[in-house]
Symmetry: C2
Subunit: 259 residues, 2 copies
């Protein structure tokens, strides 16, 4: 799994890259089953919406075998190693549910804004790679991006402790308007198995899901090992402290009996 | 403006029809200006979100010249006369704002459900035709439809007086799930000037708008004159009582100096 020169240029210019159909229906079925398993667990890593439905399972790679394998999948790790130009470790791992009818908003934010402010990560040499476990459509709360916003550095942000169950450094409306008027807004949508890479400084959000179908996305936030965090304020299962470089597994690791 | 046999079949089968680029950018600019004018009015017909931003201007064709002309536009009236097979009158006229950042949800519902229950409209010989005044995208709260749901008749509904500022007969989750599992969900999106026709019984909803851009849609709810409402419970500017058949104006009526 190697990104082409053109794909690397697109990522650099826009701040994200959409790769359709990277995982087979067998693989996404396996991950869908795994997500149901982790949401059923009563663990501190599994966060719920205000009505009790699942919102996020943090660090699922540390307590679920399928997600452990996905966390070292070559179709995810190798492109990111290519973009970040070296070995990477898992800074954060989330299985985000966006439950049917009740999945709540994620307000406008930059992930690196949080990693810098809360975790003292030196530079934005870190990024997200997401796997759609279900179809993501205009109807079920897709990710929405402001292209090119990653070129503007870390924006001023306020610590939003009220909108949802998860504390987030969010951007004010004037900033979002200004960036969107420059870069536009896009909502990459597609079937289960699609993959989305985006820069740690890309401004993004996600509307509520009012559809009758859940839509789960797995997010790996990967960081160059030299750029590891310096402050251990957040729980280790939210901002990991194991900086060991990931060794990618084999391409069939999800469906193989052993890895 | 005549719908083809294929378009009529598609409407009958799916319950909606999407017509891209029916109005020019000059025409939509004129309508955008008109929508700002009506939202600035302090009138009982102009409803606001809980934070004070505009939500809906009812009956705008009765107090704004551009919307008066749009309410008799041949590109809107003639296709609906074709589908409903005869002369039509305006049952309801709405300019719906879905304001930037604050535009709230419209819960799952059927419009004819309300027209039957509240207004005693005899049959579902009535429908909506909508004009996009701004671009409608996955990011700014598009309409979402359950195709083929119009074939199932009026569904059980509860009177929702709490979710938003507007009372609505909404469907329960089990019904929405069942219909969506049969028909799927679609979100027709496109630029300003697109037109969307949908059956009075088509189940639809619209998520909040978290984008920095408003998106205004004008809705004409047109009813066959023989099928006029029998009960006058709601205000006459919400459920009109003038059943005079609309005489379509000329095709250039929006930009002409006089009509």
């Amino acid at each position: 799994m190697k990104l082409s020169k053109q794909q690397l240029q697109e990522f650099d210019e826009l701040g994200f890259l959409f790769l359709p159909n990277q995982f087979t229906s067998d693989e996404t079925a396996l991950l869908r089953k795994a997500s149901k398993e982790v949401y059923a667990l009563e663990r501190e890593e599994v966060w719920r919406e205000s009505n009790g439905g699942p919102r996020t399972a943090f660090a699922a790679h540390t307590y679920n075998e399928a997600f452990r394998r996905l966390g070292a999948h070559p179709r995810l790790i190798e492109p990111v190693m290519q973009i970040l130009d070296g070995p990477v470790y898992i800074h954060q791992y989330k299985v985000n549910a966006k439950a049917a009818f009740d999945g709540e908003v994620w307000q406008w934010h930059q992930d690196y804004g949080t990693w810098q402010r809360d975790d003292d990560m030196p530079e934005a040499r870190a990024m997200n790679i997401a796997v759609f476990i279900d179809e993501v459509s205009a109807a079920n709360g897709p990710l929405i991006f402001i292209p090119k916003s990653h070129k503007k550095g870390v924006q001023e942000a306020g610590h939003d402790l009220e909108s949802t169950s998860y504390p987030l450094w969010t951007l004010d409306r004037a900033t979002v308007s200004r960036l969107a008027n420059e870069g536009g807004i896009v909502a990459p949508t597609g079937s289960a198995g699609c993959v989305l890479l985006f820069h740690g400084n890309l401004v993004h959000a996600s509307p509520p899901n009012i559809s009758p179908w859940g839509r789960t996305i797995v997010y790996l936030s990967l960081c160059h090992v030299d750029n590891h965090i310096r402050r251990f304020k957040r729980a280790e299962w939210i901002a990991h402290r194991d900086f060991t470089p990931i060794q990618p597994l084999a391409d069939d690791c999800l469906t193989a009996s052993k890895t």
